[in-house]
Symmetry: C2
Subunit: 341 residues, 2 copies
DNA sequence: AAGTCTTGTGGAATCGATTCCATGGAATCG
DNA sequence: CGATTCCATGGAATCGATTCCACAAGACTT
């Protein structure tokens, strides 16, 4: 289809130097004269030379590629995270191989194996499940790795996570102050650290602020929107339904919202709703949604920074970013008619 | 950090065959005996061998990597598209290198150069601008390429696009039937084919259904949400403001929505609003948003299918997917008080 | 029974860069 | 001024797979 592609030898020949010198110029090695730098640059421009990344990586064992493993890019939280990480990586000259695990462990492993084969310089992962064999393989090989958003128990890897506890505690306190006693919680999957931590925080705060500890008030979702719908449906159908709902991530909040709308419940009046994760348009809803917000952009940037430190052979401290409640109109006062439309 | 990594020679030695035979087994070459297949497989498993993708690509000139160039992964439309394409590619054994051009031509070129250096097997791009030099370089090198969502005039590459015309025409007709005469249009950037096509469709339909052709009713945005806000603000401030707004993509519709909310305008009553692109939660708004919908998942899948055909040396026909109006409550009847809150 | 065809195999060349090593000339030193 | 360092350079080895080529041994022809 195309002719034989242009190699560094062609560049070297045109510039009148050896390929060793051409290589040194291209990689910014200081042991080059101004004259050869200039001649090589001219030859590169004339031939529109693009060095073969495979050949370079094979010899130098640096690929300038990082692997980013997320669970679902369609979740706006992960889209923002991917965007932030990818832009931060690009600024450091690294390109990003994206893997969507789709909340599926086999698919996660498939991508991790690919990352190993591609000899990526590092991996940023929002992992799930416990001892994934591929995850262990990544670490055994000494591939620099950081966790983002989520961690895995028993695996000691630097991470950037959110302190969900503070935000959730604020949310529960806020609801309690409004007079809510029965708060339904739509939990994330217990195979993820965020799913487990947020549930623990919720339970602890519920106890602290005197909310009902009825286990029926917790529904286990999977962080995807359909489970938010069915969760809300289930909770509203209880003999003693809650007067407020708290969803552990934004897609499940969207699902819950759909159910509430379908049932004709007025949010903030008939039923309070709070979502974990802020999304631009949550404030545009009528009424605007009360949320637990955290800085996703910082999370992505920080993950790249930590990964670079690990690549440089250091062992950086993990970073925990704060979360905070942003009160909007969806979490109004509990009144006696609540929950009984 | 790690010991010398495991190569195919180690596998071959353990299996008691030559590396040539080991390679044949690994790549599924039929010229192998059952016995060596079995022995190599055992050795691979025992050593947890992951072939070096660089070495393989260098020799075979196949990388099994495709480049996906989008403008902004935070736009839900592109997130859905990325997800669909990535999953379809994975099913074919291809992994995806993601590039976010961020609606910036230099960054688009940066990624295209990276794709060339990485010797990707193919490129799926939602391009912008006209003769990007890097885009020309990609095509000159004969790298299989398909366009998705957008095209570039004068570049003959198979593409998957949406027939915006039918949906926009339906939307304009719908608004005209409701009695609207002045419809504000928040256009996309005219450096993109979708921005241009949709504006043309809108103008043509406006003429056909007798809407005002006042050029002040068109505001040029950039497909990002902030420009939707300022666009709506600008249009509402006209001496003769519109009674309905049509936004050329969903982020701009979200921005317009924010402005309408801030001004206290009731959507569907004080001001009609229609968005191009359907997003899950648009139907959850109060009132639910009327949208022009198209099948993003099919677009992603089709792009991968076309790319595979190009890689196989064929020249597939471009695909145009339909769009259609989905009427919800945000596009109500025009009444005399409209536009004068 | 002798020649032709298959089939599986191993040795060695190859892909395109980087990098080790040796070298020659200029610069610096005592 | 001779010895030593420094610098830029080119030749050749190297990274780890794939693939060309030659070859041996068995399966078929006629």
């Amino acid at each position: 289809m195309t002719g034989p592609s242009i190699t560094i030898k062609d560049v070297a020949a045109l510039a009148g130097v050896s390929s060793a010198t051409a290589s040194r110029v291209l990689s910014g090695n200081p042991a080059t004269s101004a004259e050869s730098r200039q001649k090589v640059a001219a030859a590169v421009a004339e031939l529109d030379f693009h060095p073969n990344a495979q050949a370079r990586a094979l010899r130098s064992t640096r690929t300038n590629v990082i692997g980013l493993l997320l669970s679902d890019i369609r979740n706006p939280f992960f889209a923002d995270l991917a965007h932030a990480a990818e832009q931060a990586a690009l600024a450091e000259g690294l390109v990003t191989l994206l893997g969507n695990a789709n909340e599926s462990i086999p698919q996660q492993d498939r991508y991790l194996d690919t990352f190993i084969s591609q000899r990526v310089d590092g991996v940023i992962a929002a992992p799930q499940g416990e001892g994934s064999s591929s995850l262990r393989a990544v670490l055994e090989r000494g591939i620099p790795t950081v966790f983002v958003d989520r961690t895995v128990d028993g695996i000691d890897v630097p991470s950037v996570t959110t302190d969900s506890d503070s935000g959730i505690r604020q949310a529960v306190e806020h609801l309690a102050r409004q007079g809510h006693e029965r708060v339904g919680y739509i939990a994330g999957p217990q195979t993820t650290s965020t799913g487990r931590d947020r549930l623990k925080s919720f339970s602890r705060a519920a106890r602290e602020f005197g909310l009902s500890a009825d286990p029926a008030l917790t529904y286990f979702g999977d962080f995807q929107s359909a489970s938010g719908s069915t969760g809300a449906h289930h909770l509203l159908g209880l003999a003693q339904p809650p007067t407020a709902l708290l969803a552990a991530d934004s897609p499940m909040a969207v699902g819950a919202l759909a159910t509430l709308n379908r049932k004709g419940l007025r949010i903030g009046r008939d039923m309070a709703l709070i979502a974990f994760d802020d999304i631009e348009w949550f404030s545009l809803l009528d009424p605007p949604l009360t949320v637990i917000s955290h800085d996703v952009e910082a999370m992505g940037r920080t993950a790249v920074r930590l990964l670079l430190e690990v690549i440089d052979g250091h062992k950086p401290e993990s970073v925990v970013l704060p979360s905070e409640l942003i009160v909007r109109a969806s979490s109004g006062t509990a009144d006696p008619s609540l929950g009984r439309p």
